[in-house]
Assembly symmetry: C2
Homo-oligomer: 748 residues x 2
């Protein structure tokens, strides 16, 4: 059979257009989960073996083994296997399962710290090479930083900057490899190269020409890498197994060569279903074999590991790598993109139990077939391992039904967009800087310009707002320019050629800033406006504590004024962000997303005027504040909280708005069917109202307390935190305490 | 005694301003050479030892020894000595005299070819490092080149591009190290860094910030390197020996870390004389010891070596490295800058015999003291090792009396300017492209756009000029954009931090293009206009030969029309060059300079309409054509030739106009005194008429013929070729033949 036999459509045949191929060939599925098959024998064997390795890894603080002297490239390692004869899909990052590669291009100190902190030896020759002869991304950034940038970073008004780790958030469209084979992609990139620039060699043209040349070399390397595993990927895949294998080889090249913060795999479900469906119809495989292939692919995604430092693990607890995989979603022609494969992918959580990776993401709409919405709600309730994003908002704002989520909540159109990821600015701390004239409340350092501080015993709203705007103006400018440095150097010293090779040459680039502490900023301003906040000062006159005298409205309780305040902050800050020069004229966006870094950020943030105590975690992402002091907390139940979050303007935060909720099963109803139906109905309502994202956890706080006390009883307990899923036992003690302290809604 | 005791002036004390220091402190010398002292005992011993090493080097094709696995950096090697206890000035490029360092940053293939072609082994680990992990300048350039650029390069319409070797032509102001010590320079660069950019991080600002950071690191490395030799260079030099040593350490850092085409040391004579004069006056040293210090410094400059490939040696024959050292010149206040040191430096050619390096360059003016002009003429006559540049033109066009020459004829203001060197376009070949519609006459490839060719049996002037303009328009655009790629990549992959560290952060950058074949282009157009040129075509109709029927005026014979034609070509091409976008908004310039590459370029250029035969060398630089065919050659003697060259507009060729002349001693007069006086008078007249440059050779063709037949008799015979001096025995056979075929004027 020919590669493309039986496929319909024409446009995709002569030019790279995976979406056109999908639209012309996919089979929408409106049924339920009854067709699904259990794990195959090979899956059981492999998964059993892998769990043994996971145990070793867990006992060794997340490290099974590490390289210290093979700089990781696409072709740096011999092939490796879990159980060679059982694997339907092959390919490891290194030559041994779970062994972490040595990745010095981002920063030799980082790479060496990861080794030393895990008890491995540093290789002096490597240190010499990547210090004396080959500059790294990290070194480049610090060579160009200004003292102000270093101070802002050190004092954590800007945090989590990807200057000591890979920016990630780039999704290669690895489907292209399966559909076209690598020779076609090389030929297309060569054609592109011949059309980059027209005689005049500006820096931009030269840079892009070099990048495309590097992409072509990367494709050649990937072809060679596949031969190590015995495959010739020159030509398109000719069946489902090859399609999955080819696609995975593309992704494998990415995770072999880059330790980006989020190494997402994108939207692959309907695409692969077309190959599976063809094989099923032609009797090449049966459903059990189809599930086996999907299970094996997912198992590979569960095995991805990167060497990381203790500091990194503090920020992003539980070793997440964001192999985010997006499923479902609606088509712009009104059909849903749900196929049997979306069921198969969710079913891996049953066949192999819950798992943090891949970061399974349902592109949700109330227009999706009810069978699928019900099944997704069921799996969410059972596993607390999946997240939901509003597909109606994605299509409306990104103009495509081929979006995927990178990392947690960042939308990107497959193969068309890339993101300059930029972590986040702490807008709760900015409130304190506005009050103290730019002096950091924790370190006492003058970090922002010497703006006039607020004096007096209580805080005046009008005086405060003027100062807060000044502070946000300064912060937005500094923040964007810090990111300009980072991305210039990332392109220079750690360019992701193997990923960009699977994307259009003429790329849309977004410049993704982020905001931490939105709820505390909003609540603090509401407190200043309505709460008659008394100021307590230290011996130097620095405001160090605040006592609201009166009750005030807070964000997260369906109060329109408080919710509008959160939107005002978002809009004002984003407006300032947009005024700046951005690297490569990328399009500025922002996110309300902290991942688990809310704990570290909170630790570095003093008492806030809303009554939150110094050092306590910030509320994660766009979540409302937890109960703290007299007036904070979600007091009106789940739906009120969701209504507040849904009011935040996605158009001002196109990099995403993260919302993590925990619901007591009893709050959803008395029996499983009721609970599943109610959860589905809650999501229908939330997303119809414009909510962007929901991490769904269904369990009781008691369960977590028991897991905290007896981790050995819950080796696989997986929960959703801000933006990803994580094994509870892998969280740091502080993160566990933070999760437990969050509101678990007992009522809708 | 304090570092600066006895020095006058104030401005230079608080800010880096070496010129101000010189102006306030130097002692003009108007006497003759009678004060000079012979070589010291130590000098004799060192020079004898060095000549032994040179013999070994000569027997081994210019290679004494080579490194293959230590990438050269400022601190990569242990200290090395010739005879440690005899050396007043210390410091070698590697740990062994004349051993060539391994320099892979410009290109690993280049570095490896240099090894292999000289019988050394390639180190596989190094190849891996500089292929897989650390991209080189050469790789970067070829990643970005367009097919048109590759074709132009391959077909040699653009030639000698610094894409496989270092661009050179950058002169660090190493005097700064002696005057200020390295700590002050580090502090100044740190101050600069804090003032690069104002908040907004454009690519330009980021790049410069990184560069200044790299410069600071380089200064720290240089300080460390000096400690290997037992010196603490933190503080200013406190006597002449330290001043020379500090200055040389600065230069040494450059030649340890970069193999630029021209590693010039700049204008250091009056500066060092100030230190020597102070020591003489204070009885610290006597004149013999002063000469000893200068001899030892010059000896170090004679020892500089770089590993190079056979292709490079073909282009630039005899292993030149252009340690160009500029002396004399006038001050803008009317005093000359001649000091005793200018005599001492020329005197090294007597004390240690003639030598190609350093490339001794007299900044000449008829206003220089007669004693010095006479002495310079004497040394030129005796050694044929020095060149002269028009200092009146330098001051008028560069606005400074602190210019130095980089390489051969490229002016640069010390510490203020750098140059993006760009080799040259072959305008003689462009004549043939204009006739043949962009088809190369040698390779038959379509290189330029498919412009309309000239048909018919004879060449019409008006038709030709239209086509030639089209061709120059195309060539200028392509050439500049090719150089844009090269310099972008050079900055990216082989940035000269140790050199730029001794220059202003706010630098003026020139973009130095170059022209080869000016005389053949001018003569060919004169032939087309006046000579009724018959065309001979091959079987495809391509014009392959030309027969001028009538005599026509030629450049180099004091004919105003022919000389004006050369100026028209220069002006037209330069005007097109100026229209282009240049990297970092550098200022475009051009040169009429071929160095010895005129032989290689001529080899690749077909028959020209002026009657020059295919494959014959082009006339070098701005030199008139040699006799070839019926009508070519300098027929009116030396002065007529000089008059023609002096007519070329330096304002259109601010990168320099090279003129190399050989005079039969008898043509200058009957006895030595007459010859010296006549030579001085010839130069006074030539430079007063606006001639820019003169390489002076005084010998007979017979001498060269004898040296060609019996090289063993002339181990140190040194001659001036286009832009540098070279040992005759080190020239390739083709270059020797070219030199012999040049006009040796028998009459003035």
């Amino acid at each position: 059979m020919g590669y493309w036999d039986g496929f319909k459509g024409s446009k995709w045949r002569t030019t790279v257009d995976v979406r056109d191929f999908i639209q012309a060939n996919y089979t929408e599925y409106k049924g339920d989960d009854s067709f699904l098959e259990p794990a195959a024998d090979s899956t059981e064997k492999l998964w059993t073996k892998l769990q043994e390795l996971f145990e070793v890894q867990h006992e060794q603080n997340g490290v099974y083994d590490m390289d210290n002297n093979i700089p990781a490239t696409v072709t740096s390692h011999e092939p490796g296997y879990l159980i060679k004869e059982e694997e339907k899909i092959v390919g490891l990052q290194t030559d041994v399962p779970l062994k972490q590669a040595f990745m010095p291009f981002g920063g030799i100190n980082m790479a060496n710290n990861a080794l030393v902190s895990n008890g491995y030896e540093v290789d002096d020759e490597m240190t010499k090479i990547f210090s004396d002869w080959r500059k790294t991304h990290n070194q480049g950034v610090f060579d160009a930083y200004t003292p102000e940038m270093r101070a802002a970073r050190k004092n954590k008004i800007i945090t989590g900057l990807p200057d000591a780790y890979g920016r990630g958030r780039i999704i290669g469209d690895y489907r292209r490899l399966a559909l076209y084979g690598i020779d076609f992609l090389i030929a297309e990139k060569k054609k592109d190269l011949s059309n980059v620039g027209n005689k005049v060699m500006t820096d931009d043209v030269i840079r892009l020409r070099e990048e495309v040349s590097d992409q072509i070399k990367a494709l050649v390397d990937i072809k060679e890498m596949a031969t190590y595993y015995g495959f010739d990927i020159s030509k398109p895949a000719k069946n489902a197994q090859e399609a999955i294998q080819w696609l995975y080889f593309g992704y494998l090249a990415a995770i072999k060569s880059q330790n980006g913060a989020a190494m997402s795999i994108g939207r692959i479900s309907a695409f692969l279903d077309i190959y599976i469906q063809r094989d099923l119809e032609n009797g090449v495989i049966n459903e059990a074999e189809a599930q086996e292939l999907i299970d094996h692919l997912i198992m590979k995604l569960r095995m991805v590991k990167f060497a990381r430092t203790p500091e990194y693990n503090q920020l992003f607890s539980g070793y997440p790598i964001w192999a985010t995989l997006s499923i479902a979603g609606m088509g712009i022609d009104g059909r849903s993109l749900v196929t049997k494969n979306d069921f198969r992918i969710l079913h891996t959580l049953t066949n192999m139990g819950p798992s943090p990776e891949p970061n399974l993401t349902v592109l949700y709409s109330s227009h999706l077939p009810e069978g699928f919405r019900t099944y997704a709600a069921k799996i969410a309730k059972e596993s607390s391992s999946i997240q939901f994003e509003n597909d109606d908002l994605l299509r409306a704002n990104w103009g495509s039904d081929d979006c995927a989520i990178a990392c947690c909540v960042s939308a990107t159109v497959m193969g068309k967009d890339m993101q300059f990821f930029g972590a986040r600015a702490n807008l709760a701390k900015a409130v304190l800087y506005a009050i103290n004239g730019g002096v950091d409340e924790v370190t006492k350092a003058q970090v922002a310009p010497r703006f006039r501080p607020m004096t007096g015993d209580t805080l005046n709203y009008d005086e405060f707002i003027t100062r807060y705007k000044d502070m946000l103006d300064w912060l937005a400018e500094l923040y964007v320019n810090t990111l300009n440095v980072i991305h210039y150097m990332h392109d220079k010293y750690a360019y992701e050629a193997p990923q960009l090779a699977f994307m259009d040459t003429d790329l849309k680039r977004t410049f993704a800033t982020g905001i931490a502490g939105i709820s505390h900023a909003a609540d603090s301003i509401m407190a200043i406006k309505h709460g008659n906040v008394q100021v307590i000062r230290d011996e130097d006159g620095l405001a160090v504590d605040y006592v609201p005298q009166n009750e005030f409205p807070t964000y997260g309780n369906d109060n329109e004024e408080a919710d509008a305040m959160a939107n005002w902050i978002l809009d004002y800050f984003m407006t300032q962000i947009k005024r700046q020069h951005t690297y490569r004229n990328s399009t500025p966006t922002t996110s309300l997303l902290t991942i688990t870094s809310n704990v570290v950020y909170g630790k570095a943030t003093g008492n806030t005027p809303d009554g939150r105590r110094a050092g306590k975690p910030l509320a994660p992402g766009a979540n409302p504040s937890y109960q703290d002091g007299k007036f904070l907390g979600e007091k009106n139940g789940l739906l009120a909280s969701l209504n507040s979050t849904a009011r935040l303007a996605y158009t001002s935060a196109l990099d995403g708005i993260s919302n993590t909720q925990t619901i007591n099963p009893n709050g959803l109803g008395k029996d499983d069917d009721t609970r599943i139906n109610n959860l589905r109905n809650v999501m229908d309502g939330y997303f119809d109202r414009g909510g962007y994202h929901l991490n769904v956890n269904v369990f009781t706080t008691d369960l977590l307390l028991d897991a905290q006390a007896h981790p050995e009883k819950y080796p696989n307990l997986t929960i959703r935190v801000s933006g990803y899923a994580v094994k509870f036992r892998d969280l740091t003690p502080e993160q566990q305490a933070d999760v437990i302290s969050r509101t678990a809604h007992d009522r809708m």
